[in-house]
Symmetry: C2
Subunit: 225 residues, 2 copies
């Protein structure tokens, strides 16, 4: 008995409603200030500061100073993965928030997961990249093939710059709504940014929803058929 790591510390941290609200807000991928997170969680800024200190101390959040603001963000993709898998189980068990917002369908269609595209369109992109052999799976890690490099390069993604980052280029991430994988990692982020740059999609304020324009969605579906 008493084998392996202790999960109760981490789970207890996530288990407080105020903290889980903050974490879910940060799953939008944006870095938020302590004040914004306090409003998001519905607590005063003193309380939020205490929570954020604990989350940072446990290595779940990353803090960045900028003038008189402190920006918090999810520490890494491992943390995001745990949160997404917990979300999946909660959804399946029907532990929904008391008031499910009107944005739910949009959320299932396309949303930001930490810093990449999730939802039905995210899954479709991932499936398409694999079906067309732009990405192959090796040891469950997605790898970009020559044809894949050509595709994203022509799409405007600077692969040389991405290679300089320490982040893995490709990762897969499990989707809570579709229960399927989608593309994470530096390439997932770069592709999402490119969709924004080209005006195919835009973020809705204060939400994880990624709203595709009619034209943008058409082009997206054409590219990832």
């Amino acid at each position: 008995m008493k084998e392996g790591p202790d999960i109760s510390l981490l789970a207890a941290l996530i288990g407080d409603p105020a903290r889980s609200n903050m974490l879910m807000a940060l799953m939008s991928g944006k870095a938020l200030t302590a004040g914004e997170l306090a409003r998001e969680a519905g607590v005063t800024i003193q309380t939020a500061s205490s929570h954020l200190g604990k989350l940072e101390g446990a290595g779940l959040l990353f803090k960045r100073h900028e003038g008189r603001h402190r920006y918090f963000s999810i520490a890494d993709e491992d943390v995001a993965g745990v949160l997404e898998s917990l979300t999946g189980l909660a959804a399946k068990r029907g532990h929904l928030r008391t008031r499910t917002g009107p944005k739910d369908p949009e959320l299932r269609k396309a949303r930001v997961c930490y810093n990449h595209l999730a939802g039905e369109l995210g899954v479709q992109m991932y499936d398409s990249l694999i079906a067309n052999h732009h990405i192959v799976l090796k040891d469950n890690t997605p790898l970009l093939t020559a044809s894949g490099k050509k595709l994203v390069g022509e799409f405007g993604v600077d692969l040389e710059m991405l290679a300089k980052l320490r982040r893995p280029l490709c990762k897969s991430c499990l989707d809570w709504s579709a229960r399927r994988s989608h593309l994470a990692g530096a390439l997932g982020t770069a592709l999402l940014n490119q969709f924004f740059e080209l005006g195919w999609a835009a973020r809705l304020d204060n939400s994880r929803v990624v709203a595709f324009s009619t034209d943008g969605e058409q082009k997206f579906r054409q590219m990832f058929i």
Copy 2:
């Protein structure tokens, strides 16, 4: 704000040390009685009963009456997956138990994860099945090919019987020690049972460790080269 399912209820349940100890004990895949779980968690049986009621109510555990005993087990593989992913993050963040047992190396090599084989040997089996095209990944779900069916059939797994179960035949499960996938699902369970049947391996008492015999490990490595 306030989008998606509420993860704080589930996380708070897992976050109590007594409950997480019980859950980790049940990750051995064995069904345990309330009394055994109380000892495992280091609390009285009254306290354990209260915890187990909550875990069952949330759908994390499954309860089975048998005479004057109540056997508890992990509800399904989704729950096991969340626990395993939390374990992985805790291990990476160094949130280890105060006393790491002497069994740690054995645990990394081969252990039971809910009801299938995990650890280095579990990952090796999974990689081998994929490398030899006995299993192919489709939409991130492993599928048994014709050659795979032949292999496991000759090994003594009754595929027709497995097909009758409602459980998915193949699933992948992320490993906390190796951080790679291994095989779960009905086939994962059947293969592990066959290793026990053939005497290749045996379970250590009160532990998740799967101890392979010298001969058994040799045959295992030969089969999944």
